[in-house]
Symmetry: C3
Subunit: 363 residues, 3 copies
């Protein structure tokens, strides 16, 4: 175990005081839902970065997203109903097209031009329903994340969702420092103090950071058991990108200690995962957490998929309990400084990247 | 269906921004309770327009209403007990007469003159217990509402109460625009989009507005079924006064399409209702809703009365769900403008009438 | 029954407006827990006067108390675990010694000197775990309260705890005026209006007040029944000190009317209790209430102890209901004056004593 320098050399102020609760980027794609949350005929109310949206699947099968507030008397449109050509408000019956224009007012022959609500750019992208919060015209499909494992015959998973009553930034902090696996997840994802003792490499990306950690010769975590009930020591590796505005794309795996990954694959031992996760601010103090961790489709049946999902859910509940407790402390005495340590390297860099992106938007 | 002009010509600001949460009139009668809520010996704590009151039935059978706050250490008097000549505080035993004077302090031979609490003018008026919030001397019994159907051998009903966690003004808006019957109450009180499509007549009254709506040749609403299980088309009519500070007095009915009301009465078909409803602000953001809708006492037995009551309760729960959702939207982004439409005519006029009454009180 | 003067002659402002919610003394001992709340290995999170503490029993058996907030990212240390030589944070694994110094950071060979958290002086004093909120060096063991009945072979009790969602000051007020026994506790601790009618003597102490009340020839309260099922009239007496920052130490008892206490003891009749109670502010608007009332160990078995405990718990729930209702009224219209009465003598003096102590601390 190599010694690390004791503090992060140039820790920006943001990391020291743990700014949390926005501001939030607008010219970016947020995961708003899993595809399966929008069956035909359903209205989904979802708040993103403080803005109330209503989403539904139109007759053509594509997704529409409008402000969840009728222009008449501000009732939520999500309390209405889907019709063939639009969404009808459930209070006084105004009907809106997917582009936000009101196309019918009961009792009026002509709809006033001012009758419209804001629409949002929205795409269904490999089972993630993604919303662009900024100007519709600026929505840039080339900036969608590479979550291909969400929709691939090679990978199998059960999609997950958790709601957090904490700011999104604290969850980002958590995902940027996996040393917590040793302590928060000692009985689930972790299983060894050595994860925290190993120094990861951290690399800046244009829109986030890349983190990689190799942990040799440790016991396997309980989480692997449904897929690989192995009792010897293993070599683990974790490699992920954490990208604005809060998307984690991860490759990870393990094999018997001393084998290479190729040797393990030849012998059909070890594990390999692809994980796609997204944390989307709901409000300044609450967050949507969409996640999956997929195993190879040619290894393990549905029982394995379900077992891994339940293990992941249990571990993510451990994170939520800790982060919620941390948030309560932060609220109790706002402004108390944090002590930056070497393990904060990735989160310090990501917060700097976020601060630059916010500055570019003038926030 | 005649076309309506598309917007309300001179919509005052009040309607546009949906002012809600007071101020409230004081020199007026508020419904504080149904008579049956005050059996002998009971203490009823009820907050009206932000003021905490305690009510009880005195030995003479009349109702007394005091401020629900002992002058000693501000414990609620409603935590005490009714005695023959007054109300005794349950904390340290001070006793108060129905006029608010303290008439006993344990351990003292003489009661300090400053020991008194505020009393309110209160009357029991046809099963409504009504409180005058302003000066006791100004209480004017000639201004009590004409809710005679609440206490008449000709009409039968079960009294209802709902609590709202919304400002009173939003419920008034709802009651002043019955176009919502087509959408909020499609499966209960409504049953046809035509209710919303019909233009009502709206008439100014000295202390409110009168609204009348005739809807020819529509299917009967599910609500009528316990009293009149008819499947043909009907002609419906609704006529009500909505009066300060929030009392709705309504005549309504229906008969087979094409018959006059008299013809229907002769044949013993159709329905006719009297409804008395009152919305009383509890606080700036919560409301008491007292209501009844009575059917003719010579038509239908207790099963009918109960069936109609249950139907009304289900429908009013639909209103509450919608108005509560609307209120959450209004709180989320205060100050967002509303788009006035023709269907808002009655509520715009009522809000103007309320604004004038508040101005007369200097609020 | 002698007449009392009608109001407290020189009621200071504090009593008139019922100041509640702090400020709180710091250079004083607060009861933080009962000893049994700290078995080996357990972490106890407890907030005192707005400060979050974590307490545990070290390997040596003594109690340690630290700020419940890791210096790294402010997670509560109470979410961690007890180890042989300290407390390890459950988020990223920093370990702290009982004196607050960080003694291990995973992945670092050397712990930064800035890595420490605040420690508190804490003692285990006759089954009360007591914390000194001010400077550790100023902690003065000579100022611990004389709660010897908490740990004496002569007295037996079951320890009690209640949580209040009210400021501590209102509970102090309650404990300083036992006239409420006649009304709040008519069916439990009281049993006669005469308790309120009797004038107690009140005496200033350096750090509180002494209150004594003798009530001749009254029926016994229901509370005595498990220990002494007597139906005749009794003479009761109550004598207690109420001391900063909120400790009540009480002797009380009763014997058949007309007997002296000595005569009753000789005949083995009557009751005698020792009570130790402490109200510790949790936050400005919530309070910890630690209490016990002990009976002589040579009278009555465990059924008696349990019966008395259950009776006390029922009575203290009556207090909490009343004080909580009072607090709601105070919050509804802050700043409303109270009417000082003769029965407030002890609480007025105690509030003056508290104000002086706060002034000495410059609060």
């Amino acid at each position: 175990m190599s010694a690390m320098s004791e503090t992060v050399p140039a820790a920006p102020h943001a990391a020291v005081t743990a700014v949390a609760g926005g501001p939030f980027l607008r010219n970016t794609w947020y995961v708003a839902a899993w595809s399966h949350e929008l069956p035909p005929g359903a209205l989904l109310a979802r708040t993103i970065a403080g803005e109330a949206l209503v989403l539904w699947r139109t007759a053509s099968g594509s997704i529409a997203a409008l402000e969840d507030r009728c222009c008449h008397r501000q009732a939520p449109l999500s309390c209405g109903r889907v019709e063939a050509d639009g969404l009808r408000c459930g209070y006084h019956g105004l009907k809106f097209a997917p582009d936000g224009r009101c196309i019918e007012v009961p009792g009026l022959d002509r709809v006033p031009p001012a009758a419209r609500v804001r629409r949002y750019a929205v795409v269904e992208h490999r089972r993630w329903v993604m919303v662009w919060l900024g100007d519709v015209d600026a929505a840039d499909p080339t900036r969608l994340p590479d979550n291909h494992a969400c929709d691939s015959p090679d990978w199998r998973y059960r999609p997950g969702y958790l709601h957090y009553d904490t700011p999104v930034e604290l969850i980002a902090d958590n995902l940027l420092d996996f040393s917590h696996l040793s302590y928060v997840h000692a009985g689930t994802l972790g299983g060894s103090d050595r994860i925290a003792a190993i120094r990861p490499t951290v690399q800046d990306l244009p829109d986030g950071v890349r983190v990689e950690r190799h942990v040799p010769a440790v016991p396997p975590p309980a989480y692997y058991r449904p897929l690989w009930p192995y009792d010897g020591l293993i070599d683990r590796w974790i490699r992920y990108d954490f990208l604005l505005p809060g998307v984690l794309l991860m490759d990870s795996g393990a094999q018997p200690a001393g084998l290479t990954a190729d040797e393990a694959a030849q012998r059909g031992v070890g594990v390999r995962f692809r994980s796609c996760q997204a944390i989307t601010p709901e409000t300044a103090s609450s967050t949507h957490y969409f996640f999956m961790e997929a195993h190879r489709a040619d290894r393990g049946d549905e029982t394995v998929t379900e077992g891994l999902y339940q293990g992941l859910l249990a571990a993510f509940a451990e994170d939520r309990a800790m982060i919620t407790a941390q948030w309560h402390n932060l609220q109790r005495t706002p402004g108390r400084p944090m002590l930056p340590l070497a393990m904060d390297a990735a989160l310090v860099r990501y917060r700097a990247c976020l601060a630059q992106a916010l500055a570019r938007e003038g926030r």
